[in-house]
């Protein structure tokens, strides 16, 4: 088989990675943008989403689609609520000081991870996809009878993977509408540009912060619920999404949502393609290298103004 089919396969895998990564990174970017908080525990909110999804699917029984649908709604809500509680009890007390919140969220990372290990255990557990039809992808080949359509073995995807991409795009569109077209989005953007002036115009900044922290965590949890039928739930699964989200947020320009989505697509697709053709490790190395280059040559990110 030629290169073409492999490339399509790799791009499809990459698109799934990109979709999930975009959701996770937008959550991180939102929190950093509005609150100026670097949330090291973001990957743990992702992991909690997957673990709660397993727990719901496992205890519900019945058709897998039922448990999955409930998890899709409940897991982000529960994780969001946990994040709101963490914001009100920890971050607020630190006055959202940039350095101290980093240390605090590192602490939060270990607390969540260890509590999960103690209750959920060290196993990786699968969640069944609600639907999973295999879809073969055709390819065109110039054979002895001229061009003809063939169905190369191994070239295909599943309906579920396409659904993940669609769902992520829908949610991202929703976040965009929330930020640009609603009153609460307006208030969040005002808080983002000038916290003191937001207060001076009656905006309850602390409540906005709690909301944003909850929303950011819920997005990570939602991304995890989407990926868990493909990847399995494990208490250490938060590391990669955290690293990749940071890479994406830095490349996309700190706090810029369109930049974040663009960078997620770039990193996700190249991760998929490099992983298929070479190795996943090389993909991570190159992405990290790219961050270094961006930080040196374009500190404001690819979409941002260059430096301050």
């Amino acid at each position: 088989m030629e290169l073409g089919p492999y490339l399509i396969l790799a791009s499809l895998e990459g698109a799934v990675t990109a979709a999930v990564l975009a959701l996770t990174a937008v959550g991180l970017s939102l929190v950093f943008g509005v609150m100026r908080v670097v949330n090291i525990a973001h990957g743990e909110f992702f992991m909690l989403g997957a673990v709660i999804a397993w727990w719901i699917a496992h205890s519900m029984g019945g058709h897998p689609a039922l448990g999955f649908a409930v998890a899709l709604v409940v897991a982000p809500l529960v994780v969001g609520a946990i994040a709101v509680a963490a914001d009100m009890t920890i971050l607020k007390r630190l006055d959202y000081d940039p350095e101290r919140t980093i240390v605090a969220t590192i602490g939060l990372l270990y607390i969540i991870q260890q509590l999960t290990l103690m209750t959920y255990g060290p196993e990786a557990r699968p969640v069944e996809a609600p639907f999973n039809t295999r879809l073969a992808i055709p390819w065109f080949e110039n054979g002895e009878n001229g061009w003809q359509m063939i169905w190369p073995w191994g070239l295909g995807t599943t309906s579920y993977k396409l659904a993940v991409i669609g769902a992520a795009m829908t949610v991202l569109l929703g976040v965009w509408v929330l930020m640009k077209r609603t009153r609460i989005g307006l208030v969040m953007r005002a808080t983002q540009t000038d916290r003191e002036m937001a207060l001076a115009f009656g905006i309850p900044v602390e409540r906005i912060y709690a909301l944003v922290f909850g929303l950011g965590a819920a997005l990570a949890a939602l991304a995890a619920v989407l990926i868990v039928p493909i990847q399995q739930a494990h208490y250490l699964m938060g590391g990669d999404p955290l690293l990749l989200s940071f890479i994406v947020v830095i490349i996309g320009g700190l706090g810029s949502l369109p930049g974040t989505v663009l960078a997620a697509i770039l990193i996700g697709l190249s991760d998929g393609i490099i992983s298929v053709f070479f190795s996943p490790t090389l993909a991570k190395i190159l992405a990290t290298l790219l961050v270094g280059l961006v930080l040196v040559f374009k500190p404001g990110g690819l979409t941002g103004s260059s430096g301050k």
Partner: protein, 231 residues
């Protein structure tokens, strides 16, 4: 009427204001005059609840506003035009005004009145705040504060770096606000600008209150001004 009674405040452990007392009556323009770093901006931030009150009392029409959480202070009717304008960048003129309107749930009629005061803003309505000229930005900062139908208006160096025509436009609006019974606390560097609008002038030095004199007295005798701000 806004009243500060022996207030102490500052940044963290650095105390700036020491037992400062001031009264601004409704329908009056009180000018706060003092050297750079005397504590004028600090006074305004303390009134807005943005800096913690270490001791002392701030009352608005007899009601204590010094202990309120910061976002409640503007809701009581204190409009703030900060030094350096500090508009919500990235947001349009319309959206900046909307934030102001929402503070006290003012209606469409308030918006109309404000836009009548600043017709230029109507022309720039859909433009982003940071694309306006300096003078237009100052108009927007003032308009945003007027959107909450303030009982008290705090203006921190509103004419800093503006052309004479813009300074005059801002001055007109301040005088109009006084006529409608708003208590205006104005910080200005330029003594002549102060004397042309102020009813009374309060001096501040090293975070402490000094003499409070009718502007009329200063117009006749400049020596007090020179003693405080050394021109």
């Amino acid at each position: 009427m806004l009243q500060l009674d022996k207030i102490n405040s500052g940044y963290g452990r650095a105390q700036i204001l020491r037992d400062l007392s001031l009264t601004v009556e409704s329908g009056e323009i009180l000018c706060l005059l003092g050297r750079n770093g005397a504590g004028k901006t600090t006074t305004m931030k303390t009134i807005m609840g943005l800096l913690p009150l270490m001791s002392g009392q701030i009352t608005l029409d007899g009601q204590d506003v010094g202990q309120l959480p910061p976002h409640e202070v503007p809701r009581r009717g204190i409009g703030y035009v900060p030094q350096g304008r500090r508009l919500f960048t990235g947001l349009s003129v319309a959206q900046n005004l909307e934030i102001g309107l929402r503070t006290r749930k003012s209606g469409q009629d308030t918006l109309e009145e404000v836009l009548t005061l600043f017709p230029r803003l109507r022309e720039r309505y859909r433009q982003r705040a940071e694309t306006l000229s300096g003078g237009e930005q100052q108009m927007l900062a003032t308009a945003r504060a007027l959107c909450l139908r303030p009982k008290v208006l705090l203006l921190d160096e509103p004419t800093e770096g503006l052309q004479p025509s813009m300074i005059e436009a801002i001055r007109q609006v301040i005088v109009q606000m006084r006529a409608t019974g708003v208590a205006v606390l104005l910080v200005e560097q330029r003594v002549d600008a102060v004397l042309s609008v102020a009813d009374r002038v309060a001096f501040i030095e090293n975070g402490q209150g000094g003499a409070v004199v009718p502007a009329e007295t200063l117009r006749q005798d400049h020596s007090i001004v020179e003693r405080y701000i050394g021109v």
